[in-house]
């Protein structure tokens, strides 16, 4: 019950702060651009677009959300409320994934992509990974510039092998790389059981790290600065 309220609150926050409006505009631009490119190019470009924008934007959304909550000191209230760090993170993860899913499905439908369920799952899992990475980085920083700088290595590690893989530059070991598993799903290919397990373990580890970071951030709020 509390979780539902928390998610509803996060969605309202994201709507009021213009996240939905921004992505409505971007989706229209993306769809227009996709419809303008030749049919033969669309498959890989749409996969790359969906993988690299709606879900991966979770990282930047988290930066913006946590910085806003820090600057407006809302985190002080949340830290002394019955909300647990797990609930706080899960709510952000779910609400941001929802935007990613809406945008990804809209683009995929416009581009005539098949396997929408697998694509949707891939989008949500990618979004969760990047949201958690964004959360881990965001709790440590104080400004948006700092955040953008800190996310560069995560972007290279996250996107690099996946993009290479999509365009045929492949190393056998990279087929088990979480980002590559995700981009495969966004492309509409169902991964094997082992790959799903790897993805789940990876997300669980990131969730644990994010939980520790959030708890540390809550403990640092207010009080003496030494």
């Amino acid at each position: 019950m509390r979780m539902e309220k928390l998610i509803a609150g996060d969605v309202k926050f994201q709507r009021k702060y213009g996240f939905y409006f921004l992505y409505a505009i971007l989706t229209i631009i993306y769809i227009t651009a996709i419809l303008a490119i030749p049919q033969s190019w669309r498959g890989k470009i749409v996969t790359l677009l969906i993988f690299s924008d709606p879900p991966a934007m979770g990282m930047f959304f988290m930066g913006a959300i946590v910085l806003l909550e820090k600057s407006q000191r809302v985190l002080c209230t949340l830290a002394v409320s019955p909300i647990t760090p797990q609930e706080y993170i899960a709510s952000k993860m779910i609400s941001v994934s929802l935007i990613s899913l809406l945008v990804a499905v809209s683009i995929a439908l416009a581009a005539g992509k098949d396997h929408l369920f697998i694509l949707g799952m891939g989008t949500v899992l990618t979004s969760m990974i990047f949201t958690l990475l964004g959360m881990i980085v965001a709790v440590k920083i104080e400004s948006l510039n700092q955040f953008i700088l800190w996310t560069v290595p995560f972007e290279i590690i996250g996107f690099g092998p996946a993009v290479l893989y999509l365009f045929g530059v492949d190393f056998p070991v990279f087929q088990y790389y979480p980002a590559n598993i995700c981009i495969n799903m966004v492309a509409g290919r169902l991964p094997g059981g082992l790959k799903i397990v790897i993805l789940c373990i990876f997300i669980a580890i990131l969730f644990g790290l994010a939980q520790k970071s959030v708890l540390r951030m809550w403990n640092r709020l207010g009080g003496a600065k030494l």
Binding site: F13, Q72, C76, V80, P82, G222, G223, A224, L226
Partner: protein
């Protein structure tokens, strides 16, 4: 309600909170007074379970703060000195959201907004609120889930005299309902008026702990100042407990020549400076 025994806490190698012990009973307003950096906020964070790595015993509602579960906060309301609201949401939206995070049924948001004089502005964004309006809204947020313990940090800061009075009346109303209130303030007048007991905190230590009345009476000699006309206006001061031996005063009273006479006592601020050697800045 609150028991603190031999509390020690440090952010670094140097001790910050040193050997604090005190108890706060149910229905008591307990004030923490001290200059900035004295350890008041740290103490409040320990009491609200946000800093678990302390030494000693700190119990709130019978729960050791370092071992609390999250439902610990169902019975604690914290009013921060600064606004802690989503600025782009309206006051009503903020209150609806924060109250939804508790299991307990929320108090009437409309009623509290009305009481604090914010009903007309309930649908305004918080970013459009003045400092005083934000302070009142923050206070409402702390009350929404009807907590047994209220931690108030400078609740009257930024309020005009009318709203200052309104806020103090609301605090006393909560006390009358049996709520325990921890009040952190620089404002000695508020502390004198509201607190049953106050602790003077300097350098992470409690330097004095008693009721404001006892602190004032124990340290300060009350005096009587009187004025009369004699080659211009004259003024003299004598200790209240020596008033019967002041011959000049006796004579002025006898001759009905006094222009004015009033007694005065030291303020809590004077006592604070006297005990700690520090001003409350």
């Amino acid at each position: 309600m609150i028991t603190v025994n031999n509390l020690n806490y440090s952010y670094t190698d140097k001790p910050f909170i040193r050997d604090m012990s005190f108890r706060v009973s149910r229905g008591e307003i307990f004030g923490f007074l001290g200059p900035s950096g004295a350890g008041k906020s740290t103490l409040q964070k320990i009491l609200t379970g946000m800093l678990p790595d302390y030494q000693g015993q700190v119990q709130v509602h019978g729960v050791e703060c370092k071992k609390h579960k999250k439902d610990f906060y169902e019975n604690i309301g914290v009013d921060f000195e600064f606004s802690t609201m989503y600025e782009k949401l309206t006051a009503r939206e903020n209150l609806n959201f924060f109250s939804s995070l508790y299991k307990k049924k929320s108090k009437s948001i409309e009623g509290l907004l009305e009481k604090m004089g914010l009903a007309q502005d309930a649908d305004k964004r918080v970013s459009e609120y003045s400092k005083g309006m934000k302070a009142r809204l923050n206070f409402i947020k702390a009350l929404l889930h009807d907590p047994a313990l209220l931690c108030l940090d400078e609740p009257t800061s930024g309020l005009d005299p009318t709203n200052n009075r309104l806020m103090k009346d609301m605090i006393l109303e909560e006390k009358a309902k049996g709520k325990t209130i921890l009040l952190t303030t620089h404002n000695m007048q508020d502390a004198t008026e509201l607190c049953d007991r106050v602790a003077f905190i300097v350098g992470g230590q409690i330097m004095a702990l008693d009721s404001p009345h006892n602190l004032i009476m124990s340290r300060g000699a009350r005096t009587v100042t009187y004025r009369w006309q004699e080659n211009g206006e004259q003024t003299a001061v004598c200790a209240l407990d020596e008033i019967s031996t002041d011959q000049r005063l006796q004579m002025l009273i006898h001759d009905n020549r006094l222009l004015s006479i009033h007694s005065s006592e030291p303020t809590l601020n004077d006592i604070f400076m006297d005990i700690t050697g520090r001003a409350l800045v």
